[in-house]
């Protein structure tokens, strides 16, 4: 179950994937005394658990800086002089509610222009609409190549599921587009992640180096999935910076996930967004 594979088939040099194997982190705590490793976990309590383990083993935590993915991206954006304000979930749901209009949740009335939502009893429920948007975002990061892959995949499943899968994607893209039109802030914290991903690539790593000057290694911990936004951030780091990236998957899903990583990394220009057909065709980057 445990194990580490370096230089996996088609994996970039500076990326190492682990299944479990967190002990390695504790070993590194012994040997270093200045913070040159960013320890990143999406679950806040997991950072606390690692800190508790270090305390219990009487190991110094000096070698590590703990953060969640959004925090490290905020620092990149500050260094790049890009805006960092984002709409939170409460406000996002309010925006979605207002774009759906004030009709009851299952009203058969036409949706606002440009916003086509899949049919179904709860198609006008803001929470469900937001769920569709976040699922599409986790799977594609709204990247043009992944959006094309979604359409192709939809074409391969049986009728009428193929149409439903396409409609759900179109709905997610329409909601994301409409949200952008309605706020000057970033639509979500994940949009900030994408913006930081593009900044890292566009500055050829300079924004990253300025934000995290001593970070030689970034360790992503405790993942039960590798979302497209996180993949693209890792991709940009590997392409534009000298940082070494270690990903620790968890024991129940790690074997599966690590076999998926090479394909997930095989998209160009990570962080690029195409919310409409025109953007996808012209290759222009939507401002975000």
């Amino acid at each position: 179950m445990e194990g580490t594979r370096t230089r996996d088939d088609g994996l970039p040099d500076r990326l190492t994937l682990h299944v479990g194997d967190e002990e390695r982190l504790f070993e590194r705590a012994r040997t270093r005394s200045h913070p040159n490793e960013l320890v990143v976990s999406p679950v806040e309590l997991h950072q606390r658990n690692v800190q508790r383990r270090l305390r219990e083993a009487r190991l110094p935590a000096d070698a590590f800086r703990f953060a969640d993915p959004v925090e490290i991206c905020l620092r990149v954006l500050e260094a790049a002089g890009r805006p960092t304000a984002a709409v939170d979930r409460v406000d996002r749901l309010a925006l979605i509610r207002s774009m759906l209009g004030d009709e009851p949740a299952d009203s058969p009335d036409d949706p606002p222009a440009g916003l086509s939502l899949p049919t179904g009893p709860s198609s006008r429920d803001p929470q469900r609409v937001e769920q569709i948007r976040t699922e599409a975002e986790a799977i594609t990061n709204f990247h043009p190549e992944r959006i094309a892959a979604w359409r192709k995949t939809a074409g391969e499943v049986d009728d009428p599921i193929d149409d439903e899968a396409r409609e759900l994607l179109d709905a997610a893209l329409a909601v994301e587009r409409e949200l952008r039109d309605r706020t000057a802030k970033a639509v979500s914290e994940t949009a900030l992640l994408r913006r930081a991903t593009r900044s890292i690539a566009a500055t050829d790593g300079a924004a990253w180096a300025e934000a995290h000057p001593n970070a030689e290694r970034l360790t992503l911990l405790g993942l039960s999935s590798l979302s497209a936004p996180h993949t693209d951030l890792v991709n940009a780091l590997l392409t534009a910076t000298p940082v070494e990236v270690h990903v620790h998957f968890r024991a129940g899903t790690g074997e599966y996930l690590r076999r998926r990583v090479p394909d997930l990394l095989a998209v160009d220009d990570p962080g690029t967004v195409a919310l409409s057909e025109a953007e996808a065709l012209s290759g222009t980057e939507a401002s975000e």
């Binding site: 409460v90 699922e135 129940g252 996930l257």
Partner: protein
């Protein structure tokens, strides 16, 4: 990636080499009793409470029975769970102040509700003599409700009613004066009025909770956490109320301010952050990751609760194609949680967390008597099953650890026994 790799998500779990003891109980309530009796039994055999952790896939359905069972065994449980702030007294106080201020007239129940929830003037402003006794004791609030007239009236007229009612003291007058002086609901005034209410509670209400609390101070901890959360909530309320007024989606009213507070409170849950060395840690299974504790008690290993695949808005056939990831589909990021992958991770991590032993518990029937199946995750490990007779002794009046568990505890200290 080939389709066959997809099978890695259902492959046999290579479980760590730690003894797993399985306790099956008839109902959920019995199961909670068995779990807490096991924790108490370990404690009574000299295992420090800190060396035991309880993992539950989803605390919603277990928090209450585990809490009751823990108290029975004189265990103080700390639930590492989302604080349901809307069920706390500080939140109810803020809501009740909004309700007392909403509308043109208010009845005596609504008027007195903040006082029942220990409304007090903030300490700094309470130097005046005669106001030492805050919050008003419940009996006095009760007497006032009996003495005051029925029927709704504007806040300003309640002062008069208080003056002409026997046995309603000056403190009530002061409270009504405070309500009457509240400005119109603008973002800044909403924040300052509710902010005063919460600071008054922090100064005078919280010490009441502490005085009445058990030695482990669990209620005090909950109350203190709630005060912190409600302070943050009031700050957010100021900004969001301003935004909503600018958009024209809310009215300048205390009722709308209360509605918005509820939206913020229910959509932004916070976590308990205090651990307590005298108390038993009870985690949701995801939060156990990376810890190292000798004994783990994993609760709720039934087919219905653990695994429980995530909800998705996408059709199952499409999700399955994304999981297989063949050809160009490989660029799409799959979510193993769709097919219970996260539950696998949490199960393995509960096993990995345990240094000496894992006790897994489950129940076998619903309250209405239907069968509840064993979690398929348990098929991945070899368990030592505790007999029904041993389980009864565990939860009986003269509790006794099952022999399977006793052997491990005693083996820990020296040699083994049977």
């Amino acid at each position: 990636m080939t389709g066959a790799d997809r099978l890695a998500l259902s492959a046999t779990i290579d479980a760590p080499d730690v003894p797993v003891i399985e306790v099956a109980s008839p109902t959920r309530r019995d199961e909670a009793r068995s779990a807490m009796a096991a924790a108490a039994g370990l404690r009574d055999r000299g295992v420090p409470v800190r060396d035991v952790a309880v993992a539950v896939r989803d605390l919603d359905s277990y928090e209450e029975p585990l809490f009751r069972a823990a108290i029975q065994h004189e265990i103080a449980p700390v639930f590492w769970t989302q604080l349901r702030v809307t069920r706390t007294r500080p939140y109810a106080l803020v809501e009740s102040v909004c309700e007392a201020l909403a509308g043109d007239a208010v009845d005596r129940e609504t008027l007195l509700r903040p006082l029942e929830l220990r409304w007090s003037p903030a300490a700094a402003s309470a130097a005046d003599p005669g106001s030492a006794a805050w919050p008003i004791e419940p009996a006095a609030v009760h007497r006032a409700r009996e003495a005051l007239p029925e029927g709704a009236r504007p806040v300003s007229e309640w002062t008069e009613a208080i003056d002409s009612s026997a046995g309603v003291d000056d403190r009530f007058r002061r409270f009504v004066g405070w309500l009457d002086a509240a400005p119109e609901p603008e973002p800044a005034s909403v924040a300052s009025v509710l902010g005063e209410a919460i600071e008054g509670y922090a100064d005078r209400g919280l010490p009441e909770t502490k005085a009445a609390d058990s030695p482990a101070l669990l209620d005090t901890e909950t109350d203190a956490r709630a005060v912190v959360r409600v302070r943050t909530l009031v700050r957010q309320l100021r900004h969001k109320f301003a935004d909503r007024l600018a958009e024209g989606t809310l009215e300048r009213s205390w009722a709308d301010a209360a509605d918005l507070a509820r939206v913020i409170a229910t959509q932004r849950p916070g976590r308990r952050e205090h651990s307590n060395a005298r108390a038993l840690d009870i985690f949701e299974a995801n939060d156990l990751w990376a810890l190292d504790v000798p004994y783990v008690i994993a609760v709720g290993l039934t087919a219905e609760e653990w695994p429980r695949p995530s909800q998705s808005a996408l059709p199952p056939e499409f999700r399955e194609a994304v999981l297989r990831g063949e050809g160009p589909t490989g660029a799409l990021a799959p979510q193993p949680a769709w097919v219970g992958g996260r539950d696998r991770d949490q199960f393995v991590d509960a096993l990995r967390t345990a240094g000496d032993c894992v006790v897994v518990t489950r129940h076998t029937r619903t309250p209405s008597g239907d069968d509840v199946a064993r979690s398929p995750l348990l098929d991945h490990v070899e368990t030592r099953r505790v007999s029904e007779e041993s389980r009864r002794r565990l939860v009986g009046t003269d509790p006794e650890l099952p022999p399977e568990l006793r052997a491990i505890v005693d083996g820990d200290t020296e040699g083994d026994d049977g």
